[in-house]
């Protein structure tokens, strides 16, 4: 009898141990407090684009489009009317919009990103079907290319990435392909981490898609709980050599250079002087509520976009800074946004805090000859303008 009871207690204790125990990793910043700044970002200009009655600021996706005759368009997506708007970047005037239907055979229900190769070749991303749609400025659908393999594969999400297009991680055009960074939204099962590839590469001559680049096992392996997409998004930009991608993982102080031909990774330091250790969640994924995930993201530093500035030969890496003592229910938008500046060899030059997420739509950032453009969120409720603030580097 006693033996039987002791087995029951043993089982209960084992169960509670198994439920509460979760391996945690802390990714330390080896250069915290050791880096010397020589430059900072300084606001030098702003551009205000007047919006029509059915357009709001903070568009889900924006892209600069350079025409053959040297004109620069600032384009953005209006989800409400499924249109891409074209503004002259220099004169700030609205020029045209292209609208696609949402319903029917030719409809695009989940338009969330695009790349304008030319006005005859506009690559649209339909999130609802995870496919690329090739269209033109007359909104005629020319082709549809699936990014999730066979239509019959119900477990496609275990084999193919999902995408959250943003201006800071756009479709990257090379000589013969369009590169599009995706991510694995949940915790990556250990069984697939070596095989799951997050970069889609569309050959625009053949319209065939291949996938490359896996998550570094040292960061995302061992079933660490990096819950949800906060820490799983992959930000990338093309290296000036043209044969490498620079990858920025939110949880790593390093940057990963991946050779586009061989898939080989090279690691370089690309961190902040102020970022601390970044920890995985000390709880099992199923036991972590959404509020806990958000709070964890708020209390940890989180790297995001990497942008190369060919005009000044520097890199900008965005950092959503930790609020270590943030009380429960602190919102993600309260996090300060910093921009780290590195030279073309990834040597640290400095970093500047521009404000909070709630005031800066950092996802809508891109580089022009004037500087780094970042969308500023006006407090004005009329939502009449889309405002870009332009930053450039200044010696301290």
């Amino acid at each position: 009898m006693n033996l039987k009871l002791s087995k029951i207690y043993f089982f209960i204790l084992l169960l509670s141990t198994a439920c509460t125990n979760n391996s945690v990793v802390k990714i330390a910043n080896k250069n915290q407090g050791k880096l010397k700044a020589s430059v900072k970002l300084e606001k030098i200009d702003e551009k205000k684009f007047e919006l029509d009655t059915c357009t709001a600021p903070k568009p889900e996706f924006t892209e600069l489009f350079n025409t053959m005759n040297g004109k620069i368009y600032f384009t953005f997506l209006n989800n409400y009317n499924n249109s891409i708007y074209f503004y002259d970047y220099n004169s700030l005037t609205f020029e045209k919009k292209i609208t696609w239907k949402k319903d029917g055979q030719e409809g695009i229900l989940g338009l969330t990103g695009y790349h304008i190769k030319s006005l005859d070749s506009i690559y649209l991303f339909d999130k609802s079907k995870t496919e690329i749609i090739l269209s033109n400025c007359k909104n005629i659908i020319l082709n549809k290319i699936s990014l999730r393999g066979s239509k019959n594969d119900l477990n496609w999400f275990l084999h193919y990435p999902q995408y959250y297009p943003q201006a800071v991680k756009p479709f990257i055009q090379t000589a013969h392909e369009i590169i599009f960074s995706g991510f694995f939204p949940g915790n990556i099962p250990e069984s697939i981490i070596s095989d799951f590839k997050f970069t889609a590469r569309l050959d625009f001559n053949t319209n065939k898609v291949k996938f490359s680049n896996t998550y570094p096992k040292a960061l995302y392996g061992n079933n660490y709980n990096w819950n949800e997409e906060f820490f799983k998004e992959v930000f990338s930009d093309l290296h000036p050599d043209g044969d490498k991608l620079v990858l920025s993982f939110p949880i790593s102080h390093d940057l990963y250079l991946v050779n586009l031909n061989t898939g080989e990774y090279t690691k370089v330091y690309g961190g902040s002087n102020f970022a601390g250790a970044i920890s995985s969640i000390n709880k099992q994924p199923k036991k972590t509520s959404k509020d806990e995930v958000v709070l964890h993201a708020v209390r940890n530093d989180e790297y995001s976009a990497i942008k190369y500035d060919k005009f000044r030969k520097v890199y900008y890496r965005f950092l959503l800074k930790a609020i270590p003592q943030a009380p429960i229910n602190t919102e993600w938008k309260e996090k300060p946004v910093a921009v780290i500046i590195m030279d073309e060899n990834f040597r640290y030059l400095g970093e500047t805090v521009i404000g909070k997420i709630k005031n800066w739509n950092w996802q809508d950032s891109f580089v022009t000859s004037e500087g780094l453009n970042i969308e500023y969120i006006e407090k004005n409720v009329s939502e009449k303008y889309l405002t870009l603030k332009i930053f450039t580097i200044k010696k301290i």
Binding site: L5, F10, Y80
Partner: protein, 184 residues
């Protein structure tokens, strides 16, 4: 995954002091250990967080007490601007049709764009006294349901019951429409 369990630290083994007692009256001691263990198990099970429904009711009631709502209001509809897309569309369609109904009070929270919402519902928010724009995120229920539109029935400023329009509960607005029709 690390396993830290070691049979050596099992409750049944006890400390040296308890072992003396065991020698004196082993049956009584084992009985106490059983009771103690059951209490611990009961505490572990019983110490769970407040249930989700109660947390939501409490949060809604607290939020409601911070704003001015007319006495005639019987229903609160909390419409998030970000979250379950299809569920929010249902809410927007409902709002468009019932914005003139003074028995319903609409709360717009996590607003993505007021300008676009006004286009969708075909009304200017400033002309609608039964609409509250929740810039301070007061009406966040702080559960995983915060991404869904919420319908709450209120009496004397207190939340009596509430439900969410979600993929699992796709008829919440349909049910409210039916109730409103029946009351006419």
């Amino acid at each position: 995954m690390k396993r830290v369990f070691k049979p050596k630290v099992m409750i049944m083994q006890g400390s040296g002091v308890l072992n003396k007692k065991t020698k004196k009256n082993p049956t009584k001691f084992i009985k106490y250990v059983h009771i103690f263990a059951l209490v611990i198990v009961a505490l572990l099970v019983g110490s769970c967080k407040k249930n989700v429904q109660d947390t939501e009711t409490d949060n809604l009631t607290t939020s409601l007490s911070k704003i001015q709502v007319e006495k005639q209001v019987k229903w609160i509809v909390v419409l998030p601007g970000l979250g379950c897309h299809g569920c929010i569309q249902e809410g927007e369609a409902f709002m468009k049709k019932h914005i003139q109904n003074k028995n319903i009070f609409f709360v717009l929270t996590k607003i993505s764009s007021l300008k676009i919402l006004q286009q969708k519902i075909g009304a200017q928010i400033e002309d609608c006294p039964n609409v509250y724009v929740d810039y301070d995120d007061l009406f966040n229920v702080h559960t995983d349901n915060s991404i869904y539109p919420c319908i709450a029935r209120i009496e004397d400023g207190k939340v009596i019951e509430h439900e969410f329009q979600s993929p699992k509960n796709g008829a919440a607005f349909y049910n409210l429409r039916s109730l409103l029709l029946a009351q006419k």
